[in-house]
């Protein structure tokens, strides 16, 4: 029995119990914090299953991003769930009985009939990717990236990633449409010196933390084609760093630096345009869309090494631009969430 399997089972049990507590707690802040704790156990599980890239994207998104967005939403709406009270003992007993029966049933099913355990050989398609991604001897299908996940994201299954970027872009456009009175808010109430945020100790320590997270996210973004990481991982980590600045220094600090919604949207659009150019350029020069390295039937190929730095063809640049676009998109969301709700209510003429 491997220790990693035991740890995996342990984190799964904790996840199940935390789900129960989340269902029955009435305080939503409590539920969100417990959900963040649950996400940490999900990250542990993903790491133990050797999905390091997924764990790296999951950590900023679920532990940082989701919790912050939910907490903002609770702050803008209401904190307690109005449910008729259950007897706590009854809840506990029924849930425990349910779990016991379910575990026994499923355990018997799994052990007696299917006996499923992960297999020892992966699928042929996976073996093909692993065999050809950095094969110097047979360059027919190679991507020149030693990181098989990044190679799949930006080369073998590039159109999937394009779809993903499109969905993310559309969702941010929808969020902005729901908060469409931003300009009017700032015309009515110009930025004052009074909006300064927390004390100097909090500000100084948060600046140090900002620098640390920014360096880590830059490393994730720039080395995503060589080591686990990538554009989305780095971009979302950087947006969490921005959030660490927004909470103590207030949103007006970022706005004072010139990082407001329109500019961030511009930055995001520039990133997406550069991605579009990079993926369309091979098609114009005799290759196909999303081509990275030269193939036998399509002669176009991006250079593998530029100035002594291994760029893996277009993968490095795609990671960089994607990281830029994602960081800007997240920053827009956090900025519009940190505008006080009264401004919007007054503008929408909602009865209090």
């Amino acid at each position: 029995m491997l220790i990693s399997e035991v740890l995996l089972a342990y984190s799964m049990i904790v996840i199940t119990l935390l789900t129960l507590v989340i269902i029955f707690t009435k305080d939503l802040v409590n539920a969100v914090v417990l959900s963040a704790a649950q996400s940490i156990f999900f990250v542990i599980a993903l790491y133990l299953l050797l999905a390091v890239d997924v764990a790296l994207v999951y950590l900023p998104v679920a532990v940082g991003g989701y919790s912050l967005i939910f907490l903002y939403a609770i702050g803008k709406t209401e904190r307690f769930e109005k449910v008729a009270g259950y007897s706590r003992k009854l809840i506990f007993l029924s849930v425990m009985a349910f779990m016991l029966i379910a575990a026994l049933l499923i355990g018997m099913l799994a052990g007696g009939y299917t006996g499923w355990i992960p297999r020892e050989v992966t699928r042929p398609l996976a073996r093909f990717v692993l065999r050809s991604t950095i094969n110097h001897l047979n360059k027919t299908f190679w991507t020149s990236s030693p990181e098989a996940v990044s190679a799949t994201v930006w080369d073998y299954r590039g159109l999937d990633t394009f779809f993903e970027i499109a969905v993310f872009y559309g969702s941010i456009a929808g969020c902005l449409a729901l908060f469409r009175f931003i300009d009017v808010v700032f015309k009515e109430r110009p930025i004052e010196k009074a909006d300064v945020g927390l004390s100097i100790v909090a500000k100084a320590s948060c600046k140090i933390i900002f620098a640390l997270i920014a360096v880590a996210s830059a490393s994730l973004m720039l080395h995503g084609h060589l080591t686990p990481g990538g554009g989305f991982q780095g971009g979302s980590a950087f947006s969490i760093a921005l959030m660490v600045v927004i909470i103590p220094l207030s949103q007006y600090f970022l706005r004072g630096l010139g990082l407001e919604e329109r500019r961030l949207m511009l930055l995001r659009s520039i990133g997406l345009t550069l991605i579009a150019l990079l993926i369309l350029l091979p098609a114009a020069l005799g290759g196909y869309i999303f081509q990275n390295q030269a193939k036998l039937w399509a002669d176009f190929g991006y250079p593998t090494i530029i100035g002594g730095f291994w760029t893996s063809g277009s993968i490095f640049f795609l990671n960089l631009f994607d990281g830029m676009a994602v960081a800007a998109g997240f920053a827009i969301i956090f900025l519009i969430l940190s505008i006080p709700e009264e401004c919007f209510k007054r503008l929408m003429k909602v009865k209090p």
Binding site: E5, K76, E81, A110, P118, E120, E164, V350
Partner: protein
């Protein structure tokens, strides 16, 4: 060894059903969204589990820049599946996009109805016609 995997998989299945139960029965919309995030995470772990390989020394699908042909052969035979990881990466990003929009919709619902309790929203919308 089998027992540990039975444990892992039954916990995953129970969490799936518990989160679905929560989505169906809790009236508060934010609670529904939080449980929906749990639900999608469990499904993602399931998919990752499909690409896991239970050998003595499974490894992360990352190699170095100048491998020899022997190293590539060993890499092919010991590394876990990179394709399911890519799919889950995409799924997490799309899930995040959906979650962002859902949260903003909840805020908008609160602006319009003054509550995010689905029962009260149903009453109010019936009154409005």
């Amino acid at each position: 060894m089998n027992f540990v995997w039975i444990m892992i998989i039954s916990c995953l299945i129970i969490t799936t059903f518990l989160s679905l139960y929560g989505i169906a029965t809790r009236p508060n919309m934010i609670k529904k969204i939080v449980l929906y995030s749990t639900f999608s995470d469990v499904i993602n772990v399931f998919i990752i589990l499909l690409g896991y390989r239970r050998s003595l020394n499974p490894r992360v699908p990352v190699l170095h820049l100048h491998p020899t042909s022997e190293e590539i052969a060993v890499f092919e035979m010991t590394s876990v599946d990179p394709i399911v990881q890519t799919l889950v990466l995409t799924a997490i990003v799309i899930g995040l996009a959906v979650m962002l929009f859902l949260t903003f919709l909840v805020i908008q619902v609160y602006r319009l109805y003054g509550t995010i309790d689905t029962r009260e929203i149903a009453k109010k919308s019936r009154l409005r016609g």
